[in-house]
């Protein structure tokens, strides 16, 4: 199983991966590239990853989620490369017999992704500048000597 792709994410395909007659509630999280008031002119984000570790860590994360919610079926895909504003960078699907578990497992997954999965992003701005994004949401200016 590969947990990343350089192609646009297909939500329908990811939902189909975990669908089951025993599951009545499915919760999906989509993270999309944003250009809101706080961003100021983002045209795209370039996502990069430590790909081998991304796979290993997603494997461990899914095992953790499976331990907490044995009946929940989870699929996750992170998109890498240059992603334009409005496109999804991550899709998580949690299908469960009952909806509370689906919501809880999906929320757990995205919080853990943001804590554990080795992915980085660089904002590409309308003025041509590029800034690394730090986890608090504040961009780090590109060092002048690079």
């Amino acid at each position: 199983m590969t947990h990343f792709t350089r192609e646009p994410l297909s939500l329908e395909r990811l939902v189909a991966e975990v669908s089951s007659p025993a599951c009545g509630g499915t919760c999906v999280f989509l993270g999309t590239v944003r250009n809101g008031p706080a961003e100021g002119g983002v045209t795209a984000i370039e996502y990069s990853a430590y790909e081998a570790m991304l796979e290993a860590e997603f494997g461990r994360l899914l095992a953790d989620a499976g331990g907490r919610w044995p009946d929940v079926r989870i699929a996750v895909r992170h998109r890498l490369g240059t992603i334009p504003v409005g496109d999804a960078s991550i899709a998580i699907v949690a299908a469960a017999p009952h909806r509370a578990q689906a919501f809880d497992a999906c929320r757990f997954m995205i919080e853990e992704v943001k804590r554990r999965i080795p992915v980085w992003k660089k904002e590409l701005r309308v003025d041509g500048s590029e800034v690394w994004v730090d986890p608090s949401g504040r961009p780090t200016a590109k060092p002048s000597h690079v």
């Binding site: 993270g31 996502y47 990069s48 990853a49 430590y50 081998a52 570790m53 290993a56 860590e57 461990r60 992170h78 960078s89 991550i90 995205i110 992704v113 943001k114 804590r115 554990r116 999965i117 080795p118 992915v119 980085w120 992003k121 660089k122 690394w132 994004v133 730090d134 986890p135 780090t140 590109k142 060092p143 000597h145 690079v146």
Partner: protein
């Protein structure tokens, strides 16, 4: 304690790769040693690496580790900028 020479592969990602102008380097060191020792050696020896924090996020062989974790000969040590996925 007996000491032996060893080599680890160190990998850089994202902003750290930009700072050092490369994505990997080999570091020779005396074992036993910790991830923190590897970070210190890299920051001393590699041009540009002084801008990497003294206590960065790190992984050994694809797993998150603390800086006091030991390294073995042949390990892949990765220095990870603040994670920003999702």
């Amino acid at each position: 304690m007996q000491t032996t020479p060893g080599t680890v592969q160190v990998r850089f990602f994202a902003r750290y790769a930009e700072l050092v102008g490369r994505s990997a380097t080999a570091v020779s060191l005396t074992l036993p040693a910790t991830v923190g020792d590897v970070v210190r050696l890299v920051r001393e020896r590699l041009p540009g690496a002084g801008a990497i924090p003294e206590r960065p996020l790190a992984a050994v062989n694809l797993k998150h580790v603390r800086l006091d974790a030991p390294v073995q000969d042949g390990d892949e040590v990765a220095l990870l900028p603040p994670i920003a996925g999702g």
